[in-house]
Structures are given as structure tokens and as C-alpha cells.
Amino acid sequence: MNNLAILPIILPILASVIVAFFPGKLNIVRPLSKIFMVVFLGVMLFITFKVYSDGMIVLQGGGWDAPFGISLVLDYLSIILVLTTYVIATAAVFYAPHSLSDQQEKFYFYTFFFLLISGVSGAFITGDLFNLFVFFEVLLMASYGLIVLGNGKAQLRESLKYVLINLFSSMLFVTTVAFIYSLVGTVNMAHIAERVDSIPAEDQGIVTVIGILLFFVFAVKAAIFPLYYWLPNSYVVPNPVVSALFGALLTKVGIYSIFRVFTLIFVHDTGVTHQLFIWLAMLTMIFGVIGALSTNNVKLIITYNIIPAIGFILMGIGLFNEDGLSGSIYYLMHDMVIKAALFLLIGALIVAAGTKDLSQMSGVIQRFPLLGWLFFIGSLVLAGIPPFSGFIGKLLLLRGALDQGEILLTVVALLSSLLILLSMIRIFIRGFWGEKMEGMTTNPSKVHALTIPATFLISISIYLGVGAETVLPYIDQISSYLLERTEYISSVLKG
């Protein structure tokens, strides 16, 4: 049964190869991709069930026992993120045909899409630091393919910056792996953790330096202050479905990597590293929210809202207690779903109103009530109003913060939640309310088709909030498992 661990990576690769055979035949590719995605989602649900009932699944690549081979580790954290990824991807694949032009779809959209899913799942599953780099490259390559789809002037310009910043941080990642290798002589994460433990306390300084360097790499990918400047422009230019995938998945891979290495490997000098996270989390929240309030472009508002969410997740890692970690994981899951949903809704709104500019928009709710109310619920979920899922995550995070006596952090987090709500409600009040505007779309059925996949994501998000009772025990299990560390190390290295 160990081979289950490879399925989240290999299934989308196979699908991407199959759909690449008929690029021009959209009437084959579209239904095929939808069927693939639904089947894969079923498989992932089965694997999740399997992991939670029988314990974590570890696959040693090629039968080479760790630390010599590459380990794929499906533990409680990674499987839940893989499942969320597949949920979002399923919604996206139903959204794509209505949002993209035929021309864009024919330029191998579905191939890149499946490769992106494969890369993201691989990054979640792998237990090897160098392999993590490889999967980062897989997902980045796919994202380069997706970001240039459409070939617009601004799009190419912004993708150039996106590629350059990612290329630079990837090279830094390789360098950091080299540092780690020279220090401990291994790149398997469980093995690194074990060897780092045996380094005497007076030599731990170099470990912290490497930790910060690695944090820098992941912080670029995750868009943490002050390294978020590349994000807003490059996420706003592509098609909404591509933005949804990027916003929901790519930055989250970065923050997941921080999660993994700073709960497993670099845990000996939390006074330096994790305290740094708390400060950066505060600044990330503040600056992200200021960005969101500064613009009238509706898509840019959502894009800027990615940044404070990353701040919230980082805050839990910085607190490094059980409540904080539970809150972070919950918030990570919730944010992946709701960000994708909001991007999809904004795509529908732009089609409905025919403009991105909030100052020219009004009264959209009169023509499209479902879209309006879904967006309203989405805003409340994002801001963390009870009983929705954002509230549960924030409640845990704030409880964790108060346990540690981080009063300033609590205040900043609460204040930025309020400002997030303001930035979202601004769209609702000015875009949806008011006089019915001129120049609304003449094609309402397209807007309805775009709303349906978002409805699916919003309902999952509502379930995460209202049904927190059923989800929370699993999340608590993950956080105590992460704090424990020994289960991960011993299951990977038992061979």
C-alpha cells in the first residue's frame, strides 16, 4: 500500500501527457480533464481516509531506504494540503472553459494545469530537501507556462519579473542545500533533523544561519514582508483561473515549506528564528492590508489580500505552541479554499461588470444576486467573522498569541482583520450596491457558468467554519504531531 504515496504526483503527470496529445480538440480535452480531476479527487479522498485510519504512508523511492533514496512522505499535514489542492483544482477545471478564450485553452492550458498540480502535490509530499527544490521547479515551470498564456503586453512584462525573481531564489535554494549538505552530509529532511539534533549547542549558530537563509528562499516564494513586492503585479495580469491557482497554491507551497523545515529541522534556536517570524508576520499583515486598501482595481484588492493571510499563517509558526500551529494549519487550509473562491468570483464580477475599476462599477447585485451574496459571504469568511472558517483559524491563532503574552501581535492581527473586512466590503458596497450601472454584460449565462465552481468552494469553506467541530480534532492531531517530531523522523528512517 506504500505506493499510494506516489499517486498525487504521478496521476496529474499522466493526465497532462494524455491531454497534450490533442491540443486543438477542445471537445475532447475539456470533458477528459473534468473526468480526470473528479476521479483524482476521489482517489485523494480515499488516500486521506487511509492515512487517518492507518497512519502515515512513507514510500522509499526505488526501494532505496532512507537516507539514500528519495522518500515520499504522506503524513497528516501533507495529505490534508494535497486534498485541498485537488479540491481547488477541481473547481478550477470546471471554471476554465468559461473563463479562458479557446485560443488560450488550445495553447496547452490543461497540460500546464496538470503539471502545476503535480508539482504542488510533490512539494507537499517529498521528504527530501533537494527533491523539494526539484518540485518547486516543476511547479514554477508550469506556472511560467500559465502566466504567459494570452501573450498580452503587460502580461509578458510582469511574467519576466516573476520568472527572474523565482529563478534567483531557486539558485539561492540550491546554494542553501549545498550549505546543509556540507554541514550534515545528507539532504533527507528526517535525517537532517536527526543530525542537527546531535550538533553540540555551542555550534548551533551555523544551523541558525542556514535556517535564516532557507527562510529567505521560502519567504520569496511565500511573499513575506519585505519580499512580497513581486507578487501583486504578476498575480493580477493572468486570467482569473490562473490567478486563482497561483494565489491559492503557489504562495502556500512556500509557507508550507517554512512550516516543514521550521517545525522539523530548525527548532533549537526559536528565540532567534521564531521571534523573527512574529515580527515579520506583523509587518506582512500591515503592509498587505495597506496595499489592499490602496487600489480601485478589484482583482488587485484580492491579490493584495494574499499577503496578510500569509502573515497570519507565519504568526502561528512563530508562536510555535499547540494552539498557534493548529491555528496556522486551519488558516492555511481555509485560506487556500477561500482565496481560490474569491479569485473565481472576481473573474465572474469582471465579466459581469465589464470593467476592473471599482469606481466605474455599481449595482451588479441587481442583475446577479447569487454572485453578490456569494461574494458577501466570501468577504466575511476572509475577514474571519463567526461562524465562518476564518474565525476558527484566527481564534486559535489569537489564543496562541495570548498564551505567549504577545499583546502587540494580537492587536495588530485583530486590526488587520478589520481592515481586510473593510477592503472587501468596499468592493461589495461600491460594486454591488447602488444604481444599476450601464454596460453590464449582455451574456448573463456566462456569468452563471462562472459562479457555479465558486459556489462549490464557498460551500466547502462554510463547512470548514460551521462544521469545525468535525475538522478540528484532526487539525489538533496534526499540530501535536508536528511538535512531537519523533514520529516523522522514526517513520522515515525506520528502514
Binding site: 533537494f130 527544490f133 526539484v134 521547479e137 514554477l140 515551470m141 511560467y144 504567459v148 501573450n151 503586453k153 503587460a154 509578458l156 512584462r157 510582469e158 511574467s159 519576466l160 520568472v163 527572474l164 529563478l167 534567483f168 531557486s170 539558485m171 539561492l172 540550491v174 546554494t175 542545500v177 549545498a178 550549505f179 549538505y181 556540507s182 539532504v187 503585479n233
Partner: protein, 112 residues
């Protein structure tokens, strides 16, 4: 030997960063290539350099070079090769569409 290699890698990094900070697009691409070369040399050095030793452990061989950095570099070279060729094409297309290869002029504006 390791010291020389590290200094060489440092020089590559420095020239790479210098080139990335230029305005001309092609120089930036060359800068990323130089940095990736520096990173690759660096990995090789970190595995300790040995001359005349095979990278495999066979019966009877006591001195062997570490095979892992070599495998890592190979992977990394292939990746940076692919990304660089993509980047060149992208830079060319961006230049064609925007009619400039000056990064200062590629800032973009609020109203697009």
C-alpha cells in the same frame, strides 16, 4: 583547492548580481546564468573535492568521491538550462511587444 573554488564561485555570484542589477534585459539573463554557475560550483565544492577517485563505492576501493553532489549538480544544471532558454524566449517576446529592453521603461502604469 576548495578555497580556490569557493573564491571562484564568489566571483561568479558577484558578477552575476552585478549583471542582474543592470537595466538591459540581456545582461540580466546573463547575470542569472552566472549565478547558477556559481551555485553549481558551490555544490561541487561542498561535497569535498578529490582527484582521481571514482564516484562509486565498489569492493576494494577505499578512496571514493562523493557521488551525491554530482547528482545534485546534474539535476540543477538541467533545470537552469531549461529555465534559461525559456527566459531568453520570454525576454525576446517582451522586447518585441513592449518595444524596449530597458527594465526602467518596463515598470508599467496604474491604468492598464
Amino acid at each position: 583547492m576548495e578555497i580556490i573554488m569557493i573564491v571562484l564561485a564568489a566571483i561568479l555570484f558577484a558578477t552575476g548580481v552585478y549583471n542582474i542589477l543592470q537595466k538591459q534585459l540581456l545582461r540580466i539573463v546573463i547575470g542569472t546564468v552566472l549565478i547558477s554557475h556559481g551555485a553549481h560550483l558551490f555544490i561541487l565544492t561542498m561535497g569535498k573535492l578529490k582527484r582521481g577517485a571514482p564516484p562509486v563505492e565498489v569492493y576494494g576501493v577505499t578512496e571514493y568521491a562523493d557521488p551525491l553532489p554530482q547528482a545534485l549538480i546534474l539535476t540543477s544544471i538541467v533545470i537552469s538550462f531549461g529555465v534559461t532558454s525559456f527566459l531568453l524566449v520570454l525576454a525576446y517576446r517582451a522586447y518585441k511587444l513592449n518595444q524596449t529592453d530597458n527594465m526602467e521603461k518596463m515598470r508599467g502604469s496604474e491604468h492598464e
